[in-house]
Symmetry: C2
Amino acid sequence: MTNAPESECDVLIIGAGPAGLMAARWMAEFVRQKPDLRIRIIDKRSTKIFTGQADGLQCRTLETFQTLGLAEKILAEANEMVTISLYNPDENGVLKRTDRIPDTLPDISRYHQVVLHQGRIERHFLDSIAERSDMQIKVERGVLPEELTVDDSKIEDSEAYPITVKVRHLSEEEATPAQFGHKAANGLFRSSLTTAEEEDAAFARQPGRGENETETIRAKYVIGCDGGHSWVRRTLGIEMVGEQTDYIWGVVDGVPHSNFPDIRSRCAIHSANSGSVMIIPRENGMVRLYVQLQERAQPGQRVDKARFTSEMVIASAKKIMEPYTLDVPEVDWFTAYHIGQRVANAFDRDNRVFIAGDACHTHSPKAGQGMNTSMMDTYNLCWKLGLVISGKADRSLLKTYASERRPFAQALIDFDHKFSRLFSGRPAKDMADEMGVSMDVFKDAFIKGNKFASGTAINYDPSIIVGKEGAITSKRDLAKNIEVGTRLASHKVVRHAEGLPIHLGDLLVSNGKFRILLFAGKASDPQQMQRIGAFADYLDSDKSVISRYTPQGGKRDDVVEVLTIHSNTREEVEMHDFPAPSLFPKYDYNKIYADCEPYHGGHAHAYQNYGIDEQKGAVIVVRPDGYIAMVCDLEDTPMLDAYFDGFMLAPAKTIGRQTEADWTIKGTKSNGVNGTGVHVQKEPAAPVV
Amino acid sequence: MTNAPESECDVLIIGAGPAGLMAARWMAEFVRQKPDLRIRIIDKRSTKIFTGQADGLQCRTLETFQTLGLAEKILAEANEMVTISLYNPDENGVLKRTDRIPDTLPDISRYHQVVLHQGRIERHFLDSIAERSDMQIKVERGVLPEELTVDDSKIEDSEAYPITVKVRHLSEEEATPAQFGHKAANGLFRSSLTTAEEEDAAFARQPGRGENETETIRAKYVIGCDGGHSWVRRTLGIEMVGEQTDYIWGVVDGVPHSNFPDIRSRCAIHSANSGSVMIIPRENGMVRLYVQLQERAQPGQRVDKARFTSEMVIASAKKIMEPYTLDVPEVDWFTAYHIGQRVANAFDRDNRVFIAGDACHTHSPKAGQGMNTSMMDTYNLCWKLGLVISGKADRSLLKTYASERRPFAQALIDFDHKFSRLFSGRPAKDMADEMGVSMDVFKDAFIKGNKFASGTAINYDPSIIVGKEGAITSKRDLAKNIEVGTRLASHKVVRHAEGLPIHLGDLLVSNGKFRILLFAGKASDPQQMQRIGAFADYLDSDKSVISRYTPQGGKRDDVVEVLTIHSNTREEVEMHDFPAPSLFPKYDYNKIYADCEPYHGGHAHAYQNYGIDEQKGAVIVVRPDGYIAMVCDLEDTPMLDAYFDGFMLAPAKTIGRQTEADWTIKGTKSNGVNGTGVHVQKEPAAPVV
């Protein structure tokens, strides 16, 4: 028990589900850079998830995991979903496979969507948080928040701790409430069938207990990642806005015995009159069945969750999947939920207390959006928060959390509203059957939905960090195939030093850095090399965003990292032709890349894919979360200044201009195979030894 | 100290380097299947390797690691080598890059060669051995063998323990001999510059010590993996045959400071008059330099290893690499060696005691063959040994170890003989310079050598397990692009159950099973389905190799696993069209694959790549080590019988004929999208519920 009566912290994260763990994982990077930051994460429950709950991981989530060093481990355990089979009644009402479509749209991402039990994902996050924070951030379990107040007078004071949270340390018993009397592991106690009041009651203070176990935490920032019944949200008085359907669905996990031909494939099954099933094939031979139940809910009325059993869910599935056989001899987990779509009317209180994940949007689980969107909420929030509490960025940056994530949550709710009604509707018998759902309309929605659900389609509106208008209106023509405000799709480039093809996405590690991607164009052309040289001169000067925003004592790539991608072969130009040390720092072989044909795997055509001119190149600024901040020309350094000046804070002492002399030796030029002899030489060449 | 005065074990492995660990890893699979097997592995040294030693991993080694579940972890840490740059003197004698070639030949394997420090590789092996053997096999360190005798009268008795090995348990101090006074970590004490006598002396019994710490081990089999000075080899009186050059090379590991343009790329550098250097870029920014030293050895005379220092190696490299700069401020490890090529005149004693790895072949390290070949020796030996000690195969199988690996070792020695002389020779000044080495000849040898060095070119001679002649003469025309006796190259196939592309190599897990790959051809054609049905009938009958060689109580795929790969799309035939349960066992979705276009990644054309007719198919038998045993037609079940009868032993009680009735339901046929309605129905269809 960390039972100090009163303590301070920079960020208090409430809730250690996917949203909370992603928040903690991001904060670990900032703690690594500034070990005096104090980050805490608490959860009222005594244990993490062991079975059931969410499982789908979408493309964008996997791309993000890769930048956090988590993708390989998670993919090694996950089950990849590649095909969706659609089953519908034929003219005699007999179930029939009518179509197959790809699950992940081809070429949308280098990753395909997969499923893995939430508990395993949380395990990998916990390991990664411990490692990256050097054990400084650990989830404190059995800690229940009871009171939250914000001192309005201190909100704009960056040194203050305006938030006071009183928490109670629970006993093991209190932190492990009974799961409503079911023997099989289930999620009913967390589902939409449980009320906030029931959840509160499960953790309520027992008479004569808990008086001595309270603690007062004063925090600069609080993030409420505390689920659909979010105590933080209710305490802040934020409302959930939206509506409910009358559909009730059940979920069951297990290894089915079935002769259904696509039992290991994702399926959407609409029976003639018995409802719908979605099949999700999972890791270790397990299958998840989402099953529409015959029970209906009356809008506004509560449904008695105790009525729902795994047997009931399986029985419904059997009926829907006739004439195929189905049995689930051992149920790993089950739940039931009432479909509704709601979104919070605010995502923060004065940019001091934030809510994220299920706390601000709830919807049906079938598109696998819950866990993904929750993690992406805090992935969006926490690099901003990290820069602010590290003193690198202004508090105004924080308002882009709500301005970016709330419209997305609304779009998600709208998508789910449409999608879940199509899924729960009875198939139309024919064209005239207007009460039924047209299976062509459903298929179309499924395909379109897949793009949305992949998470790759997000396009953030213009803001201080999305350069689409005003002083930072990106030059769209310089990179025709990408959109400012979307995530930068990854293509392979070839590391100049040895010719290894590397995904650009692998270079965009989540560590809080902005990146300037210098698409240098044809560096073998002397005129183009002059432009590159001028850009390097800017970077080296005391006026550059690097010189002005990097604190003294750090490395020049600590805040803004420059990566150069040229369009020559590795023989047309040499690494040493590039201006050193700004583009080619001393003995650093990881900054210069070529868009050329490697020996293995084929040309990835990055310039072409991004729509960048191979001669003239372009500059792309990428945010710490991988979203495209702005696109400009090599000469547009004032735009770079304007962009960073919009929210960055200059440190008291900056690193200043580049003072290290050019270290490369130019005298050996004639030794290259096809060396152009073109380079920007800023210092006399060192003598050749 | 496991100091039983006398004990028995099935296999005693002497030496825990790469060859010994691979042996133990294989044996772990057999211990997993038969927990009463007793396997021990001892090493006289107190610790595993922490720096230096071998580092290159060739394609075939990585393919093998994948079948052992080791590839992912090792590749995540390794550095991939993609380019070889050749540097030679120009007409003025100045070093110049003259060529670049791919390091791994394109399309030779799905893996490319990589480098990773031997200590990390050993670490992953140790973890994997512990996990797979359920902690039953652990390396016993500080255990020195002192006496080995074989009781000739018991050699052919499969119940006997004909070998007696006396070992001494060393103190920590005795097991950690001083490394000849060098401060920097080095490999001189293990290099070819150290004599067997010096090595023996380092571990010699001290007066008044060790009398009580001896143990007598009686073993069925012994594998000597105890290095170039192999005590096992010397004890057996086996001779090393070959010759030595007068060249001496040094090796140094560190992070170099250099302006050499290809310092992060593999390079072969021939200077005009100062000798040669090979650069190997390694993990974590480290680089290994192989450096030809000016010192020469007189054949037959010993070289004083104490003379060699890292400074001397670096100084030689600097001179060779002029005019580029080079410094290695911190040396991680260094060594020196005297180039020679020798191979043992026998690889075993009566197929009871075997030697493997450096114990039976020594050569120069530059082609990265040592560690790879050593591991491949025991990878070849130990599935055979595992089947024999498990009672599944006849002892005659063991003679194929020497008959397969000794000719390969001889070829390796011949390759290295040529390659190392080309590397150490002075570049020819012009056509007339007959004493010099032509750089075109060198380049050509490098490219050809790469194929050999990849390990994928091995083609074992005909034998009881390589069906190339007599009763098991493979029908080569049925799979035109593959060679019996070579490893089966991996191509992707699509898992029928859900459409996921999977490398065939991933299915060939190293667990001691033989595989029958049934390339079923166009299963949508009724005539072809008849042939498939007849083959399935054979498998189910009491005459099949499965029925006769699988012990009662086991699963039908325990000894011989059948995998079906058809050439239809996943819509032209259904999984349930295939004969169940022989080809499609109950609820097992991992046995049937399609050579078709998946949604992502493109058609892999497995039939085309193997040269198999897409209509008629073929049967390929693959050995437990991934080598192609035989190729035949679907009707050639007598050939299957003849092959397995050649070395397998029938268990006392066999699993016998397939008795489980066909479990699939055929009545729903009309529900498929494009179902052919063709299938072999052996039992009346169960009623559709």
